[in-house]
């Protein structure tokens, strides 16, 4: 489908905010939170959540109808997303306000519980957002639990990466975050590999026999019905990526999201220089954008059957018959 920039910013912003809050919970629960670190983490989470929230407004094209957004909480994951993301943003803002006004003991049980409540709402919001994509049967590439895992893993990775950068910038050295980053990188790429497998399967599920009811293969599309790429009014469809280009984007994503952050995390663990985690977080965020672009652009919608030829393979019936006829004529 068409990768709308608002959706890329929305999902990445929300994911980073959730990851940062979970890192905050981790540091708070381990008693490692300092006043110098808590503010950068809270502000970064607030800023990324706000960027996601603003992007979600731009994803709406008719603001006047926004007041009806909670009407279908029973059935619509988008209604639920508006509610849970709103709750998460509100709770995060209140936590920041509490930290600013009350100056609580950052490693006390009560503060850990407060952060845990915000973290719970964060995970809930992320889960609901991921379910929005995973529960659409017509989006063959996304209709899988792997989609939910992918959103969660990349949110954890992004948040952890920025938490590590902020911790090192504030001279709060914590090797645990770097080790966590390496573990998350491995897990994220295992999930990503599974997701690419689902994407490949989805592409193979586009079947003209059920899309047209025609009895004979192969199929050649002659006219898509007065439309052409980039299918301006049909945003569920996007011109298919050439396999070569898809491969190139995957390599770029792998380097930005995996290789460079892994190398920089190892270098930081040995040298302790601040600049490496900061560069790593920036590069990883760019990698997240590439990943999310591919997630949307390469997704197969069931209606692609009306836009694609069947692969040019010989008919299982006609070819043997034709060859037998040729042989018969020769004899």
């Amino acid at each position: 489908m068409k990768p709308a920039p608002q959706l890329l910013v929305l999902t990445i912003g929300q994911g980073l905010a959730v990851g940062l809050v979970l890192s905050l919970l981790y540091l708070s629960a381990r008693g490692l939170l300092t006043p110098a670190l808590v503010w950068p983490l809270l502000l970064a989470a607030l800023v990324t959540a706000a960027i996601g929230g603003v992007a979600s407004f731009f994803h709406m094209h008719q603001f006047s109808a926004a007041r009806y957004i909670l009407r279908r909480l029973k059935t619509s994951w988008l209604s639920r997303e508006a509610l849970t993301t709103g709750l998460f943003g509100g709770a995060l803002f209140l936590l920041a306000l509490l930290t600013y006004l009350v100056h609580p003991n950052l490693n006390s049980d009560s503060y850990v519980i407060a952060v845990a409540i915000v973290a719970f709402l964060a995970v809930l919001a992320l889960f609901v957002t991921a379910m929005l994509y995973a529960t659409i049967p017509a989006m063959l590439s996304w209709h899988s639990p792997i989609t939910v895992l992918n959103f969660i893993m990349l949110a954890l990775l992004g948040g952890n990466s920025w938490a590590l950068a902020l911790a090192s910038a504030e001279r709060v050295s914590h090797a645990g975050l770097a080790a966590t980053e390496l573990v998350l990188l491995v897990l994220a790429f295992i999930v990503k590999g599974l997701q690419w497998h689902v994407f490949r399967q989805a592409h193979g599920r586009v079947n003209p026999a059920t899309g047209f009811g025609l009895p004979f293969a192969p199929y050649r599309l002659q006219d898509t019905g007065t439309t052409k790429p980039p299918y301006r009014t049909q945003t569920q469809i996007y011109p298919p990526l050439h396999p070569h280009r898809r491969g190139q984007v995957k390599v770029v994503m792998g380097v930005l999201l995996g290789v460079i952050p892994a190398v920089l995390a190892i270098v930081w663990m040995t040298t302790g220089r601040v600049v490496y985690p900061v560069i790593s977080a920036i590069v990883l965020t760019v990698g997240l954008m590439v990943e999310r672009w591919l997630f949307f652009a390469d997704a197969t919608h069931s209606s692609r059957v009306f836009f694609d030829d069947l692969a040019q393979v010989p008919s299982r019936v006609a070819t043997p018959l034709a060859s037998r006829m040729t042989r018969a004529r020769e004899q």
Partner: protein, 220 residues
């Protein structure tokens, strides 16, 4: 009651009169309900009814089929429950799936949920639009009975399209579906479309008597 259109794929000749009459009835022009950015030069605009042309098989066993594709007005329309504002809804009295433009936020989630890709995004108004089964015509009591049907049905020169109530077993559409193995598209996705198609009858393949004799001789 479930209103529907049955298309006989043997009769459809791909003239696109249904596509054009749909656009004409539902108004063209950038501010109309079915807009075009550049109506006199580029036909790539919004169409609620598109005719897809497909060729299948291999020479000499080939055939070309024209498939008029518009909203399927599904029994279990997947576009309805995903809509956060309730703008997409299914009428209980006649089964037609409609969109309330006043409460549509233009999020396009219903376009992802529709298995058939028949919903279209109007960039001008910022809302999603689709076939209404010409609800304004079929409910207009000032029109004579023979005109109270969708524009695409009325304009079909070969009478390939038939309009009626699929839930009434005595209706023409219900009998066509039951007697001629009418089928809905993509049954595996579970939307239970109301719009049905009558399948192509097999076309005799152009094989000469000599070729048949040669094959029989080879095999037996």
């Amino acid at each position: 009651m479930q209103l529907t259109i049955i298309t006989d794929l043997n009769k459809c000749v791909g003239c696109k009169s249904c596509q054009v009459s749909c656009k004409e009835h539902n108004t063209s022009g950038v501010f109309g309900p079915v807009p075009d950015e550049n109506p006199y030069q580029d036909p790539d605009g919004m169409w609620w009814n598109r005719i897809v042309t497909m060729e299948s098989g291999e020479y000499p066993n080939t055939q070309v089929m024209y498939l008029p594709k518009a909203c399927m007005h599904c029994y279990d329309a997947p576009c309805v429950p995903v809509c956060p504002t309730g703008a997409s809804y299914k009428r209980e009295d006649n089964g037609v799936v409609l969109i309330d433009y006043q409460s549509c936020i233009g999020c396009q989630l219903c376009m992802w949920a529709c298995p058939y890709g028949v919903r279209e995004f109007d960039e001008t108004e910022g809302v999603v639009k689709k076939c209404t089964l010409c609800i304004d015509r079929i409910e207009d009591e000032t029109l004579p009975d023979e005109e109270r049907q969708p524009a695409c049905v009325q304009s079909c020169p070969t009478h390939a399209r038939t309009f009626g109530d699929l839930d009434d077993p005595t209706s023409e559409v219900a009998q066509l579906v039951s007697q001629r193995q009418g089928f809905g598209l993509m049954p595996e996705l579970g939307a239970r479309p109301a719009i049905h198609y009558l399948p192509r009858r097999p076309v005799p393949s152009p094989v000469s008597a000599g070729e048949i004799d040669a094959l029989v001789e080879e095999k037996y």
